[in-house]
């Protein structure tokens, strides 16, 4: 399943084979939506055709972070319940015409959609897209089941913090039980200074417990807050460390072997982190 790198314009109707990637975490507030938005933007900037789907029905956020909330006419539930065609619910990004968003419904809840609905919907998109990213809600109930049902690959976002890691472990266990593994890990909101002082879990502490491959380490970045408020994901313009980290994750998703970016300058960091990464996978 090789994405069409560098071959796409909005007129390109050559059939594609999308990879469906679900971004989940278990714990709320660790950065799933931010991650989904930024990876989506980064992929689109790398000439991939991307659709983002917000599966957090009732508590939708992806539209806000993408700056598309006032352009919502139809949503995911409208598509599933047949009130509109799939295309009508896909909001095209103004600056990146190959990036689309299917927002969640805000006035319904997660029972409005079933795992089978999600599979059917993504199947309709597979031939036109390179990537379909699904923003999973927090928790392990219906919303989670909906979001992982169509996934070819699952990315787990966690923070270097015990509660987040505990929830991530639970999620990994559920994925293994559903044969949706192996998932890959994004360690988000890392403060390297605190790690160095031993005040925050290191990447090794986390992977020690979770025992899955890392696909990215994203440093804590204040500009995430302002960019969320502005509806312009970091990856759009920025070159902050977080933006670069998201771009690297996008490239790794496309199969590139991207060397990790040092979050601190200690010589051991490079050696330690290298063996935790997924490499060219």
């Amino acid at each position: 399943m090789r994405p069409n790198v560098g071959a796409s314009t909005s007129n390109n109707r050559a059939p594609r084979r999308a990879k469906v990637v679900t971004v989940t975490s278990g714990k709320g507030g660790v950065g799933k939506t931010t991650t989904t938005a930024n990876i989506g933007v980064a992929l689109a900037k790398l000439n991939q055709r991307v659709t983002l789907i917000d599966a957090d029905i009732g508590l939708r956020n992806l539209d806000i972070v993408m700056g598309l909330e006032n352009r919502i006419v139809y949503d995911l539930v409208d598509v599933v319940e047949g009130r509109c065609k799939l295309r009508q619910a896909m909001i095209k990004h103004k600056q990146l015409p190959e990036l689309y968003l299917i927002p969640a419904a805000q006035t319904r809840d997660k029972t409005a959609v079933s795992p089978a609905d999600m599979i059917q919907l993504t199947d309709q998109l597979r031939q036109e897209m390179d990537f379909i990213l699904i923003d999973c809600p927090a928790g392990i109930e219906r919303g989670f089941r909906n979001a992982i049902a169509p996934a070819d690959e699952v990315l787990i976002v966690t923070n270097p913090e015990v509660s987040a890691v505990r929830d991530a472990d639970r999620i990994i266990g559920l994925l293994e039980a559903e044969n949706k593994g192996p998932a890959k890990l994004i360690l988000n909101r890392v403060k390297s200074e605190m790690v160095r002082k031993g005040e925050m879990m290191s990447a090794e502490d986390v992977t020690d417990i979770l025992a899955i491959k890392l696909i990215g380490i994203v440093p804590e970045d204040d500009s995430v807050v302002s960019s969320s408020n502005a509806g312009t994901p970091l990856s759009l313009a920025d070159n902050s460390r977080a933006a670069v980290a998201f771009r690297n994750i996008a490239r790794r998703l496309m199969g590139e072997n991207v060397p990790f970016m040092p979050l601190d300058d200690s010589p051991n960091f490079l050696k330690r982190i290298s063996r935790l990464f997924a490499g060219g996978q």
Binding site: R166, D167, D169, R170, I172, G173, E176, A211
Partner: protein, 229 residues
Amino acid sequence: MHESTVAIKGHNEGLLIALSPTEEWLSIMAELATRLDGQSSFYNGARITLDVGARPLRKDELTTVKALLERRGMTLWSVMTESSTTIDSASALDLRATYTDPQYSTDGSDDGIVPISPEEDGTLGVMIRRTLRSGRTVHSQGHVVVYGDVNPGAEIIAAGDVIIWGRLRGNVHAGANGDTSAIVCALDMIPTQLRIAGYITISPAEKRHKPKPEIALIRDGQIVVETWQ
């Protein structure tokens, strides 16, 4: 019925009643009753030694004979036999039991004709060949062996022992049906909670950096954790 089905003769310890080792049991009982009833007053108050040869008798069958004799005023006090089953039944009824196998000594202390099997008896358990993640559980009426870690939030409940070839960070309950001899072993013993039978303990507060294999067991009314030697 032949005369040899049931033979009654006197000897120095009372009466010896020899029963055929091969005839059908119920007909032997009937024959014995008939023979005894024919001479009832003669046998009254006698101490009876029963010789059944190679016949294996269950405890209930031997009880039947004992009752039959007692109804006629006789007391069964000794059993001679070549069958270890009958020996066991006689012992269970507090009767003197004498082993009469002609190949071996008859003093009853040598019961070595059963060859010692090389097969070790074991007890059943389940084997799990992966890390147990948070939220996963294992229940077993036997033992549990895990090749992998047991993460915090995972739970193992076993009636028997629990052996973790990995890091134990979750919850374990060994001897869950009350067996205080159950043990828990792990290559890195840092459980959230550990129980054996009705006892419970938690990991010490200080963080240990070097994992070492340890065994948890009950001694002197509490759970102790020892390094594996």
